[in-house]
Point group: D2
Chain length 135, copies 4
Amino acid sequence: MRRRVQFYETDAAGIVHFSCFYRYMEEAEHALWREAGLSIAPPGAEIGFPRVAASFDFHRPLQFDDEFEVHIRIEEITAKTIRYSTAITMNDTHIATGRLTVACVRKRQGEPLKATEIPSTISERFEVVEPEGHS
Amino acid sequence: MRRRVQFYETDAAGIVHFSCFYRYMEEAEHALWREAGLSIAPPGAEIGFPRVAASFDFHRPLQFDDEFEVHIRIEEITAKTIRYSTAITMNDTHIATGRLTVACVRKRQGEPLKATEIPSTISERFEVVEPEGHS
Amino acid sequence: MRRRVQFYETDAAGIVHFSCFYRYMEEAEHALWREAGLSIAPPGAEIGFPRVAASFDFHRPLQFDDEFEVHIRIEEITAKTIRYSTAITMNDTHIATGRLTVACVRKRQGEPLKATEIPSTISERFEVVEPEGHS
Amino acid sequence: MRRRVQFYETDAAGIVHFSCFYRYMEEAEHALWREAGLSIAPPGAEIGFPRVAASFDFHRPLQFDDEFEVHIRIEEITAKTIRYSTAITMNDTHIATGRLTVACVRKRQGEPLKATEIPSTISERFEVVEPEGHS
């Protein structure tokens, strides 16, 4: 995914606010689902994929108008969870490295979320990708 | 409503991003509803209050850590809409002046939103307030 | 400008939060400057373009994954201000109509912002565009 | 720090977007600095504290209007970094657990950020706090 820093994503330190990196990671996740012919949150869906854990190591800042790339790959799929790994780069410079784990849950009006198995119609569209060695 | 500028609300120009003022106005609106003993979006509500129009004139910038006040009053209530007026000030200095109009709509799963009358249990809790002359 | 609704731009009502429309308008403004070969906030710039006024009328909601278009045109340029008009559409449906006025200011460390004339190297790159009658 | 969920912090899943938790953690960090009589970003500061790493484990969702608490403590201070630990709770229920590492850097116009020692006027105002066993 290729993306440009928007002005509202910067902060008074003149760089992208760190909370925006988690949004970039999610944008890339949703783009990955779309490429697989899926939507992570189709209208009326009975299951959802809330975030269970997310982390980033920040190597270098991004500034307004910078064009950067978000690379996302699936590190692991279990029966009920998906774990992604993300590398944000600009012109081959490492900007940030992230991880995101999501769980499949059943949503029922007025009930707490409950973990459930990822439907095979979803899991079979994805595959675990090994790292390229440097990410 | 009294509030402090958060770091993530500033931008690379060193001031609060203008889009955040609309969020401040909405925070004050929701605080006004709470003071009236109401929630604007209680769980399972069949009606909602989408925004129909919103505007701001910006007089002076806010910076990180500034403490400011958001004054909101109802300018007009019609059968299906509420119009608010907002003044944001810091130490009696005018920072910004805003307006917000919301409409009452009925929400039905899978149907488009449809304007409906504001329930009297809501409208009777509010009253139109005249400006104090200087806002 | 063509754009897709991101998940973090939606709210608990299931639609794009109204404050995000002001961000879309600004994204389109910055894209317009880039097309003109300019940046609205180049590193080390001595002038800036703070927002003086911004408004939106909201006609229809946008939802997650919707693809929409942001059309922006310059309505008026004065010596020190630029006024834009924006139409957000999806498949020829009117979603929202906005206006934005920005002023040119001189920035000096530790001094208040002061309105100044738009440099001709900037103003000559832009032209006022008449509406197409329906926007 | 006590805080209420704002409507614009929720997403179409009806819960607080996970990226907002990083903002809550930062709000608590800045409140901690203020309590220590400091600002993390005073006007004209020559040093800054960019984020080096940040992570969250999410245990339970927060919804609109929920009132929650953010507990932050310093886990470790080294010559050039501070590491915080955060627990977000609501009525004694664990909502999320986070970690944040920031580095002290010297800022010079037009130069890359460079790690530097935390001034003793800052570090002596803080102390490392042991966990209470359950956070």
